[in-house]
């Protein structure tokens, strides 16, 4: 038998869960950082690109995020959030800071309004089966949200706008903004309960 036993043994070893991976990164394990990048790099880049609408800046944000992860991995607390959410919030924070420094909210707001008229119809992209399934569910649930609810949610998350800022920029009363936000969040919570259980 000419099987490469060592390769199979290494390849068939169970994949590390995300928390263990972050612990290893905190212990200065570079392969662990590379593995974390492979798992979440595309997700974070998509987020940064969505916020900044600029590929080059999005890649800069991606690099900054993982350097921050390398330096602050020991501060990650699994009781506060999952690794995925932790990374997403770091990337989001940096991207929005960059966005604010550019002061292009008005331009991106009009761009967002154009996006709402054309829902996402891109084909399935690369990634693991789990990621693809989760992406499919998210996309389906977001598309099923009413436009006005999806709009306020996207402005709050992808543009970093407060409720008051959303009300001011869209002309919608603040109470209405809050109501739409609450309805959207509750709908998504009910629809994505399986995914939430995996993260909690």
């Amino acid at each position: 038998m000419d099987l490469h036993d060592s390769e199979l043994t290494a390849a068939s070893a169970p994949a590390l869960d995300d928390v263990t991976l972050v612990r290893r990164v905190a212990a200065r394990d570079q392969p662990a950082l590379a593995e974390l990048y492979d798992r979440f790099g595309s997700l974070l880049l998509a987020l940064a690109r969505r916020i900044l609408n600029n590929e080059a800046e999005a890649e800069e944000i991606l690099q900054e995020v993982f350097l921050q992860v390398w330096n602050q991995a020991r501060r990650y607390d699994p009781r506060r959030s999952s690794v995925s959410t932790w990374l997403v919030l770091i990337a989001r924070s940096r991207a929005i800071d960059r966005l604010r420094s550019r002061q292009v909210k008005d331009r991106t707001l009009s761009h967002l309004q154009q996006e709402n008229r054309h829902p996402h119809t891109s084909p399935e992209g690369p990634g693991s089966v789990l990621m693809r399934q989760r992406r499919k569910r998210l996309r389906r649930e977001m598309q099923e949200l009413p436009d006005e609810q999806r709009q306020v949610l996207e402005l709050a998350f992808f543009r970093g706008m407060t409720q008051s800022e959303i009300a001011a920029s869209t002309g919608i009363p603040l109470g209405t903004v809050k109501t739409r936000t609450l309805l959207a969040m509750k709908k998504l919570r009910n629809a994505l309960s399986t995914d939430l259980r995996e993260l909690l």
Binding site: L33, Q63, W70, R80, S128, M185, L199
Partner: protein, 439 residues
């Protein structure tokens, strides 16, 4: 609805949503929550917000980004071409470096701090309007150049255009002595002769003749003179003076071919013999083992042999499959541990024809009552049920088949309700194999 009425009508769930949004907007999960907040519920909504990017169009980062990150954490210089993670959150526009205008008149005050101007000397400001004036810089005084203080060594005068005659008269043991110039020789060159020994007496200073251009040699004179062997028989040997040391004729020792090859060759042969002896010993051991096994085999009862051969055929079939040409292995990775601390390993072998496959699972905990494990083929068109997995007493399981659904690019194991229709996975995914290794 007014804001006040809105606030009063909020339930705990709504409070949690707004707190989650406020926490995320404020900067992340490290922002402290009020003491009265329902942390579990707030976290649930924070996680929900963390799922939103999954609905975006996928993006593939360039390999350069990963390389830069790994280079930066590896500590190599010039690793990060882009700004490091220490960029402040509130980015302020970087102040432009003061532009250096080399058209400026004066450099006073700037030279000392500018390393680029180290070669220049501070001078008084000079107006550009002044005609013919150089800008306010001047080079440092040049280093001292060699002067004519050291007299150059005099070259010996060419006494004759006849080079051989000059060489013949040149004594290599003493500095060259000036000699009287000789007329140009038109006759054939004289034969080589030993240089004349120098006179022991100190030479009298002779006025050096003036330099004159040597006349070109005639063509006939450029032919080399025939060399005559300086044998003792051809010409008489004059006794060498005391200050002339004859060059000892050294004989180069003959080089033997086997000076160092022989011991090297002998060492190699010795090593070969040692290796052969070792291999011979191993062969003898194997032969002894084979003999012993044969004798044991002959002592086995027939019934055990029958089951043995059945099992052997079974293993042989699977052995041929896993060793077939152009096969792929799909290692199963744990998605959800079956139990705390449980470790389940598995691999699916697929033949090169992409039809025959063989699954082997180890460490598979028995499914809870009312549940069963199902194998799924991950294809381009979705997931196709591959069968119910039977768990053996040793927590292992094997499955194989001769066909594979078209477009299969992975395998998954889920825990489903027993007897439920197998249209699509509805339970928890426990194992997943989507990367193949060519063997």
């Amino acid at each position: 609805m007014s804001d006040k009425r809105m606030t009063e009508s909020l339930n705990p769930d709504d409070h949690a949503i707004l707190l989650a949004l406020a926490q995320v907007t404020a900067g992340g999960i490290e922002v402290p929550l009020p003491a009265t907040a329902d942390r579990a519920r707030v976290r649930e909504y924070v996680e929900l917000l963390g799922l939103l990017p999954y609905g975006l169009e996928p993006a593939t980062p360039s390999a350069e980004v990963k390389a830069r990150i790994l280079a930066a954490v590896g500590g190599r210089p010039n690793a990060a071409a882009t700004p490091a993670e220490a960029r402040p959150a509130e980015a302020t526009p970087a102040e432009a470096a003061p532009q250096r205008n080399f058209d400026e008149v004066t450099f006073a005050g700037a030279i000392d701090s500018d390393p680029l101007d180290m070669t220049f000397r501070r001078v008084a400001p000079v107006s550009v309007a002044t005609a013919g004036t150089e800008p306010g810089w001047q080079e440092l005084p040049a280093a001292a150049t060699p002067t004519a203080a050291d007299p150059e060594p005099e070259l010996p005068e060419l006494e004759s255009a006849d080079a051989d005659a000059v060489i013949a008269k040149f004594d290599w043991s003493e500095p060259p002595q000036p000699a009287a110039p000789e007329p140009v020789a038109t006759a054939p060159e004289p034969a080589w002769q030993e240089p004349e020994p120098p006179q022991p007496a100190a030479p009298e200073p002779v006025a050096e003749p003036a330099w004159q251009e040597p006349e070109p040699l005639p063509l006939a004179a450029r032919e080399p003179a025939p060399m005559e062997s300086a044998s003792a028989e051809s010409e008489p040997q004059e006794p060498l003076p005391s200050n002339v040391v004859p060059i000892a004729t050294a004989t180069r020792p003959a080089r033997g071919f086997g000076s160092w090859w022989t011991p090297a060759l002998a060492a190699m042969l010795a090593l070969c013999m040692v290796g052969l002896a070792y291999l011979a010993g191993k062969v003898n051991e194997q032969n002894a083992t084979i003999t012993r096994l044969n004798s044991e085999l002959q002592g086995l009862p027939i019934e055990d042999l029958s089951s043995f051969y059945d099992e052997f055929s079974h293993m042989k079939r699977r052995f041929h499959m896993v060793t077939a040409v152009a096969r792929h292995a799909y290692p199963m990775k744990t998605v959800q541990p079956l139990a705390p601390g449980a470790q389940t390993d598995g691999v699916v072998y697929v033949c090169g024809n992409h039809q025959r496959w063989y699954l082997n699972l180890q460490g598979l905990e028995p499914a809870p009552s009312g549940e069963e494990y199902s194998l799924w083929f991950v294809t381009d068109k979705g997931m196709i049920h591959g069968g119910v997995i039977e768990v053996g007493a040793d927590a292992s399981s094997e499955m194989e088949a001769q066909t594979l659904p078209q477009g299969t690019r992975g395998f998954a194991v889920t825990r489903e309700q027993a007897g439920a229709p197998h249209e699509e996975p509805a339970g928890t995914m426990v194992l997943l194999a989507e990367d193949s290794i060519p063997l």
